[in-house]
Symmetry: C2
Subunit: 415 residues, 2 copies
């Protein structure tokens, strides 16, 4: 991608009403555009990051047998009345509107009821189970406040998966597979070390539910964590009884701020009974489906990654999700031809490049490269042309080396 | 994909309230699920078709320099009040709701105003132009009636592109390039022959606007077409004056029903003046942007393709967008091993296969293969195992041949 063709521009300032670091940096770097509080558009660079995160999540969900589909945003009142969740006193984040004939409709803030209603149409026998489906859906939630940038929006992208199982055992198998899949996702996003399966307040069937919490100062949650033992509790379940149950002492735990990047939930047969979501078992008897739901906040993850890895110069994207691997720039007109050759050669080899071909002074280009957080910067400098050397700088470490083209190419090709 | 693992099932009937052939077939074949009138979910098979269509559209938009981004569904009242299009008397398809503090918000039925407001933030100089951006957006439209299945929904996917140009000439260049890109899209979707750039009622700046109309009995439009000369007029502009202008006679034109699969529109500087969307020209003067908008109905296209190519047995997908190239099935237990080998071998070579490994009678499998419209059917039959032959059937022509594995593979690998 040539920067001269990108319509976005970097900026030294973010909108005055934007208080979250993640959104400030993403807006300044030209990755997102703020439509209104809690509502962001994703520009070409931001969309690339989002799609890279989705690709990783998709691969891991497919590995455990998830089938991707896409539900609708528009929701029927009937569907949600069955479980009592149409009521604004029960769910306070609905956006609602009306059809021309005055029929009320809602906009999907979640899709459990909708998924159950759909899968019901296809489910007859125990032979049809298990069924595991997921989607990347734009959720709309009428949040009272929206001050965390893309970490809590009124409109955001979530991967939500649902498992339909014959019994508790089949449910458990998938539930455990999903924990492993989630851990792989967070590992691949570079968040593995700081992300904990966290005990949180449970549903009707289990003492605890499981959240995936990433330690992050900008998070809205508080967890107590023992990093060595890999145990974490949400503040809400932090009491003597639970500490004993989990076999850990208060003074072994560190209190930290964290962001909930995923959650997995066992509904048992509760919702299935409410919605008459059933099948015929081996003995020809009616039996209710064991239901689980599994969320990952895709846009939130993008925000958490910005918050955690950014430094005072700007964003630092992990290798796997950066919008390009290489930020290529030239200093001096005499370097332009060589830079263009490298751009073409790298792109031809599948090494993605953001080529800063703008007619800007070097200081501006260096600053933009740092703000935008592309992992590897290559500078083709007029004064080095004769030496056959190129300046390579690692965004994360800041270390700079002079490399020949062959050395440079070998390193980038490894990524 | 193994059919035993797909949660959807085929059905002999569609919902009683579903009158459109496209939705009836798609529901029966398990490609879409009807949430309510005009609102459909896309199951794994349907989503594959949709993604295949999007891939083709995306490739062609990128070729002409389009930059993909994604705007928001939630829309600000202020943005649309500038052009008077917030008013329900002007735009009668808004879904609207309110934030907790009573601020009114809308849900995107179109994104012209939103795009202008965003691009404005980045545009300063004529050097920044042209800017061509597009998105695949889920549009929400409060349609009074929704009786055309996925051809006109209350929720649907549209590719909308916007061009921002310095002047009429730069606009014209992109406008013409987009006509060519659109023609390539419709060609690749198998609709090229029956899709016409059609003169329709124009905006403020041109006598005509251009629609892409595909001849289709289920379409909601009427056009007059001369297939040989490649000229088409929307009924709305069919009068003596326009016939003369276009140099064609009434009796040279055939009246047909058609579906609008795309449109391109020249706003001139009208909307830019309303929204103060401007830049500084070479002489340092303020100048308004020439704006164009370019739509393709992605979900509508899927519906049109079903309507046009389906026969009395079911859907017939064009090669390029089918959810799988091959429908593989076996007859008799002794054929299972061979069928599984072919499945593995084809998938390893990148030939996508829907493998009907269900324990169903052959008649049911044949009927489902036809209903689902996969282009190539391969039957591994017990009685042919010893001969080393396999039955190959072309979905479109219905022709059947007996082929050896090498012949079969050679043919499928060519696709």
């Amino acid at each position: 991608m040539r920067m001269s063709q990108l319509f976005t521009k970097t900026s030294k300032t973010a909108p005055a009403d934007e208080v979250a670091k993640n959104a400030q940096l993403l807006i300044r770097a030209g990755f997102v555009y703020k439509v209104m509080a809690g509502v962001y558009a994703y520009t070409p660079l931001g969309l690339r990051v989002l799609e890279n995160i989705k690709r990783i999540v998709r691969e891991e969900m497919n590995k455990i047998g998830g089938q991707e589909l896409i539900m609708s945003s528009l929701q029927k009142k009937d569907t949600w009345e069955i479980t009592g969740r149409w009521d604004d006193d029960v769910v306070d984040v609905w956006f609602k509107s009306k059809l021309k004939d005055e029929t009320e409709v809602g906009f999907g803030w979640s899709h459990e009821e909708a998924i159950v209603e759909m899968v019901k149409q296809y489910l007859t026998s125990y032979k049809d189970l298990p069924i595991n489906v997921y989607q990347f859906q734009t959720k709309l939630r009428n949040e009272l406040r929206a001050k965390s940038g893309i970490m809590r929006g009124r409109e955001f992208v979530m991967k939500d998966m649902y498992s339909c199982s014959i019994d508790a055992e089949q449910h458990e198998t998938f539930y455990n597979a999903s924990i492993e899949a989630y851990n792989r996702v967070f590992d691949r996003l570079g968040l593995g070390e700081d992300t904990y399966v966290t005990y949180a307040s449970g549903g009707a069937f289990t003492k605890f539910s499981h959240e995936f919490q990433t330690i992050c100062d900008a998070g809205e949650d508080i967890i107590y964590v023992n990093r060595e033992k890999g145990i974490a509790l949400n503040e809400e379940v932090m009491d003597d009884e639970n500490l004993e149950k989990l076999g850990i002492k208060r003074d072994e735990l560190e209190k930290v701020k964290s962001a909930e990047v995923g959650n997995i939930f066992n509904f048992g047969t509760d919702k299935s009974e409410q919605m008459d979501f059933s099948f015929t078992n081996k003995n020809g008897e009616k039996q209710y489906v064991h239901l689980g739901s599994y969320g990952i906040g895709v846009t939130r993850l993008m925000g958490v990654i910005v918050e955690k890895f950014a430094d005072d110069k700007g964003i630092v994207w992990p290798e796997n999700i950066a919008p390009a691997k290489v930020y290529l720039m030239q200093i001096g007109d005499a370097a332009t031809q060589k830079a263009s050759e490298i751009y073409a050669a790298f792109e031809a080899k599948g090494i993605t490049v953001l080529y800063d071909d703008r007619n800007e002074r070097p200081g501006k280009k260096f600053a933009d490269a740092e703000l935008m957080g592309i992992p590897h910067r290559v500078t083709v400098s007029e004064r080095l042309i004769d030496s056959g050397k190129f300046e390579y700088t690692n965004r994360q470490s800041g270390e700079t080396e002079l490399l020949t083209y062959d050395e440079l190419y070998a390193r980038m090709a490894q990524l």
